[in-house]
Every structure is written in structure tokens, then in C-alpha cells.
């Protein structure tokens, strides 16, 4: 990049100042607050606060319900990412074959992305609500004892589907773009070389969109980890019996519902470490673009 040279020595700092200020106010300040909070313990009435060092972390990490939340988060995130990506890939490869109404098909596919997470959650909640949901009715009619309010596994399925549904659009866009960047002649050469549609997909298309797939895997995992609070809150509120309580949901629950601020802050700090690790992975592997040229 060419080096910009400013005649004025203060101007560059003045131009950077707003960005720095925003980062300070919205990231460093709360982050340092969380770090600070995580070393304190308050009595239940918030009257007395004392310094406890790493005790909050010890307590969190030895708490079975925290370990349970880790497991829940892993299952939820991997299942959500896998489902959202698999369906998006299916739809994107179908979009390639659509002849009439391609634009309409793509537009319709993108809509769910514009729906707010909580609203998406409510939508799924209504559809599958045991007492009034249409789909719940259909499920029960066909002999499935559907009750996500009592059955933890069913609740998990429901939030996974709701969370994945919202992410499909995003993945779809990236997969469509990746597939469009594959020269048509490659697919045609493969067709002449005797590979049928499925074979072409797995031997040509899939390997060529691998960089996009990997990128989406990271993005979807981060999404499932951190951006699904609204959906979980609307659909199950972490229940039944904490079956859908993810790490992020637990931070909220422990801090704002159970008022264990120190423990909640310690959890936030752990989450922060996870975000930093995931971001590092993203930079290391994803930003370094794969070139076949």
C-alpha cells in the first residue's frame, strides 16, 4: 500500500480519534469492567463487595451446570452450523439449475436474513408450539409425541432449526457467489469427461468452493456461539431444565436473573477468550485466501 503522507502532524490522529474513541467506549471499557468484575464477589443484596481473585473462575469451571452449558453449546453450535450450511449448499446448487425465475428464487432465499433473531424465534415457537402450532399438530397427528416444553431434546432440535433457518440465507449468498465464480467451462468439461451431476458436484464444485465452506464454518460457529441469544430466549429461554442453555445464555441468566455478577463476569471473560481464539483462527486460515489460479 502506498504510504499516505500528511502535511499536518496532528491531522492523522484527529482522523483516527473517533474510531479509537468508539473502540474504547464500546470494547475496552466494558471488557475491562468485566475483567474487574470477575475478580469481585457481591452479597445477594449488592451491599458488600470484596475482592476474591480467581475464585469466581474456579467456581465457574467446577460448576456442573457450566460444564453442561459447554456441552450444550458445542452440540447446538456444531449442529446449527452443519444444518445451516448443508441446507444452504443444497439450495445454492438447486439455484444453479433454476431456469425461470432465478431472481425471484434468490430474493426469497435471502429474506429470512432480514428477520430479527427474536422474531425468527417467535415464528418457530408459534409454528411448533404444542398447544397452538400448526406443525406441532401435524407432528402429533403423525404419532410423534411432540412437546418441546417438556422434552429437552425436542427443545434443542427446535432452537437448532430456528437458528439454522436464519443463517441459511447468509450461507446461501456465499455459496451462490462461490459457485458462480467457477467457470462454466469447467463444469462442461467435466460433463464431457463423463461425470454426471452428482459426481461433478463432489469432484469439481465442492473442492473448488472449499475456501468458502471453511470461511462459512467459522462464521457459522461464531454465529451459533454468540448471536443466537435472541432465538433461544424467545423459543425456550434456555429450558426445559437448562437443556438449551448455551454459554452466552448462561452469562445473561446468571448475571441478570440470578444476580451472580462476579460469576457472570468470569463467564464473560472466558467467552471473550473463545472469541479471540476463533477470530485468530479466522484471520490465520480464512483471510489467507486459497488460490488455485
Amino acid at each position: 500500500m502506498p504510504r499516505a503522507v500528511f502535511p499536518n502532524r496532528i491531522l492523522p490522529y484527529a482522523l483516527l480519534a473517533p474510531q479509537v474513541a468508539i473502540t474504547l467506549v464500546f470494547f475496552y471499557w466494558p471488557a475491562s469492567q468485566a475483567l474487574y468484575q470477575s475478580t469481585l464477589r457481591q452479597d445477594p443484596f449488592g451491599l458488600k463487595t470484596r475482592f476474591v481473585g480467581l475464585e469466581n473462575f474456579e467456581a465457574v469451571l467446577s460448576d456442573p451446570s457450566y460444564l453442561n452449558a459447554i456441552e450444550t453449546t458445542l452440540i447446538f453450535s456444531l449442529a446449527t452450523a452443519a444444518l445451516a450450511m448443508a441446507l444452504a449448499l443444497l439450495f445454492a446448487s438447486a439455484a444453479e439449475k433454476v431456469i425461470a425465475g432465478k431472481g425471484l428464487y434468490r430474493t426469497l432465499m435471502i429474506w429470512p436474513y432480514a428477520v430479527a433473531p427474536a422474531v425468527a424465534g417467535l415464528l418457530w415457537l408459534f409454528m411448533f408450539n404444542p398447544t397452538m402450532g400448526t406443525f406441532a399438530y401435524i407432528l402429533r397427528r403423525s404419532g410423534i409425541p411432540w412437546d418441546p416444553l417438556l422434552d429437552g431434546n425436542q427443545a434443542m432440535l427446535l432452537v437448532i432449526f430456528a437458528a439454522a433457518w436464519k443463517q441459511i440465507s447468509y450461507n446461501f449468498l456465499f455459496f451462490v457467489a462461490a459457485m458462480q465464480s467457477i467457470p462454466r467451462s469447467l463444469i462442461e468439461a467435466a460433463a464431457i469427461d463423463g461425470a454426471r451431476s452428482t459426481k461433478r458436484f463432489w469432484t469439481i464444485v465442492f473442492p473448488l468452493i472449499a475456501p468458502t465452506t471453511f470461511f462459512l464454518l467459522v462464521v457459522n460457529t461464531v454465529y451459533a456461539f454468540f448471536d443466537t441469544f435472541g432465538i433461544i430466549d424467545a423459543v425456550t429461554a434456555g429450558g426445559p431444565a437448562k437443556a438449551t442453555e448455551t454459554l452466552v445464555y448462561k452469562v445473561y441468566n446468571d448475571g441478570f436473573v440470578n444476580l451472580d455478577l462476579g460469576g457472570s463476569a468470569a463467564q464473560s471473560v472466558i467467552l471473550m477468550a473463545i472469541v479471540i481464539a476463533l477470530t485468530a483462527i479466522q484471520f490465520r486460515y480464512v483471510e489467507r485466501k486459497v488460490h488455485y489460479g
Partner: protein, 358 residues
């Protein structure tokens, strides 16, 4: 080995564009046929219909006597070389060559044999473990050829395979493709917009314009007896000089009065630049006609040059080939002559050839 037969083949694209308007063509077994025409005339469309990559709106295409209209590309027993090579970027060269054979479940020792043989012929054996991204344009071109050869198909289809190469490499690969095809004897249908490439490669040349065949024949036949004005100007470089005959044109020409009287209004005469000469002190011969030109430029192309000028009130542009290099300033008046036997005559309206240049 097989011929390719096209009967009244038409292609109308979804948008209503009629890209190919009833083409009938017989490519004989083992022949090298080149489809040539300007960009957008439907060459690729025609080739892709033969390959099975585009549906055929009407008409029939047969390969080796078998109608292939409804067959998948893979079932047509053809191999295609694309303009951008279309090599699989994530596979090594060896894998690229093997791909079509593996898909056809050819035994692996047979695959190895064919790949090694093709690699030897094309001198790409040292490249077999590289990926296409690590090859130069010429090397990719060879790999693309190799991928076609290993298949041992009934026919090769080429869609402008040399357009992405630089001029020197293009000439070299052109010669290699030609000798390779001779050696293998595989029927080939080759598409290009480059008339020189077409002339040098073809057993049979097919000139295409706006979706229909203007003329088909050997390169020499087409060069010597272009059937239409379009072919006359498209084949040959610089293009054939054209002079539409208007009421006063004959009187502005000099030379043989018999020839001048034979020029009727409503026709266009054509003369190739190499059939013209600059008139010096020796004057005009009995069977020649001559025109006075005003020089507009001179182009040196090596052993010869082309002098460009405009003729008469109609400002017809005329190119004259001269040996060596001659310099003229712009605006210099010169006289150029051509023998009566080198005249081509066309109907100005229909563009059709009227007679033979005896």
C-alpha cells in the same frame, strides 16, 4: 473414428436470438474442418450443439452415423478443447488427464498407459505432478490437448483454443495441432475467428456469417473463388479491394477498354492486393485496367509492403502489395493496375459471385 453430419441445424436461444440459422455440414471421417467467422456469428453455438452443451432447436446432428440430438455430452464420444483450457485447477496434470478415463471405469493400467503415451507425445511428462496454476499458457494448452487425446474419442472439438496465447506461441501450437491431428487421424471440428489460423489448419474451411454458411470448401478454393462479398473480404489480409461500379466509374479507370466496358453498373469488382501492382514507366499492359489513387499510407510487413490509397469520387479504399519497402508521402498520386483475369465480380445487392476469374 467417425464423421460428423449436421442437417439443417438451428438454434434459437431463450431470448429469441437465432444464433444458428439452418446449417448443413458434412465433416468426413478423419478430416480437419475449420469453422471461421467474425465474433458473434454462431460458431461456438454450433460447436456446443455438436458437443451436447446446448440443446438443438431443430435439425439433426449425427456423429459416426448415430443421431446424437438427445444424447448427453458424455455419450457422444467427443472431446473438447476450450478457449480457457478448462483444466481442473485443484487436480494435478495427471489427474486432469485421468479424470475422463476414471469416470468411464477404464482399467487403471490402461489409464496409466494412455496418460504416459499422451504425455510423451505432447512433451508434458515432467509436468504431470504439477497443478494447472503452475503452468504457462502454452503448457496448459498442451495439457488441454492431452486431456482430449487420452480419451481416444471419435472426434475432437476445438473452440478457439489458441486465442489466449501470444502470437509466436500461437503459430507454433497451430503447427503442432495440425501435425498431431494428421498423426492421430481423428475427425476434428475447429472454431476460430482468425482467418489465417483457419486457412493454415483446414482440410475444409467453412465460412460462417450471422448464423449461416457463406461458403464451404478447401482453403484454396475459397481464397481463389470467394462465393460472396462477405467471404471475399473476410478471407485474406489485407482484405480484397472492392470497387462498386457506378455510372461514372468506368470512365475514371484507365487501361483495356474491353475490360472497362464489361463492368456493369450494380456490380462490385474485387481485386486482391497481391494481384495489383504500381504502374511505373513501363505503362499499362493490354489486358490490364488501372486506377489513379491518392496515397493515404504505407504499411511495411517485412519482405513486402502495402500501399493504401483512395480512388475517385467514391473514395474507394484500395491496397496494393509491393515487394520490399516503398515510401510515399500522404497525398501522392499513384497509378495501380491489375490484370483482367484477377478480377472477381459480385452482384452489389445480393453479394453473390457473378462469374469466374477465368
Amino acid at each position: 473414428m467417425a464423421g460428423i453430419e449436421l442437417k439443417d441445424v438451428r438454434k434459437v436461444y431463450a431470448g429469441g436470438v437465432e444464433a444458428v440459422k439452418g446449417v448443413s455440414l458434412d465433416v468426413q471421417d478423419g478430416h480437419f474442418v475449420v469453422l471461421v467467422g467474425p465474433s458473434g456469428c454462431g460458431k461456438s453455438t454450433l460447436l456446443r450443439m455438436v458437443a451436447g452443451l446446448e440443446s438443438i432447436t431443430s435439425g439433426t446432428i449425427a456423429i459416426g452415423g448415430r443421431t446424437v440430438n438427445e444424447l448427453e455430452p458424455a455419450e457422444r464420444d467427443i472431446a473438447m478443447v476450450f478457449q480457457n483450457y478448462a483444466l481442473y485447477p485443484h487436480m494435478t496434470v495427471r489427474r486432469n488427464l485421468e479424470y475422463g478415463l476414471r469416470n468411464r471405469r477404464i482399467p487403471s493400467d490402461e489409464i496409466t498407459r494412455r496418460v504416459n503415451e499422451a504425455a510423451a507425445i505432447l512433451e508434458i511428462a515432467p509436468l504431470l505432478d504439477r497443478k494447472p496454476g503452475q503452468l504457462s499458457g502454452g503448457q496448459r494448452q498442451r495439457v488441454a490437448m492431452g486431456r482430449a487425446i487420452v480419451r481416444e474419442p471419435a472426434a475432437f472439438l476445438f473452440d478457439e483454443p489458441l486465442s489466449n496465447l501470444d502470437a509466436k506461441l500461437r503459430v507454433q501450437m497451430r503447427a503442432e495441432i495440425r501435425s498431431l491431428q494428421r498423426r492421430l487421424g481423428t475427425t476434428s471440428l475447429y472454431v476460430t475467428h482468425d482467418q489465417l489460423e483457419a486457412m493454415t489448419l483446414a482440410d475444409q474451411l467453412v465460412v460462417l456469417s450471422a448464423g449461416h454458411i457463406e461458403q464451404a470448401g478447401s482453403p484454396m478454393e475459397i481464397y481463389e473463388r470467394p462465393a460472396t462479398l462477405f467471404v471475399a473480404t473476410f478471407i485474406g489480409s489485407p482484405a480484397m479491394n472492392l470497387l462498386p461500379i457506378e455510372p461514372e466509374t468506368a470512365s475514371q479507370l484507365a487501361g483495356s477498354s474491353a475490360v472497362r466496358d464489361s463492368l456493369s453498373v450494380g456490380t462490385t469488382i474485387g481485386i486482391r492486393p497481391e494481384h495489383m501492382r504500381l504502374v511505373g514507366d513501363e505503362g499499362i499492359q493490354d489486358d490490364e485496367i488501372a486506377a489513379d489513387l491518392v496515397v493515404t499510407g504505407v504499411e511495411l510487413v517485412g519482405a513486402e509492403s502495402y500501399v493504401y490509397g483512395v480512388f475517385g469520387a467514391q473514395k474507394a479504399e484500395i491496397a496494393v502489395r509491393v515487394p520490399g519497402y516503398r515510401h510515399f508521402d500522404g497525398g501522392t498520386p499513384i497509378r495501380a493496375a491489375a490484370g483482367a483475369t484477377s478480377l472477381h465480380r459480385f452482384d452489389s445487392k445480393t453479394g453473390l459471385r457473378l462469374d469466374s476469374p477465368v
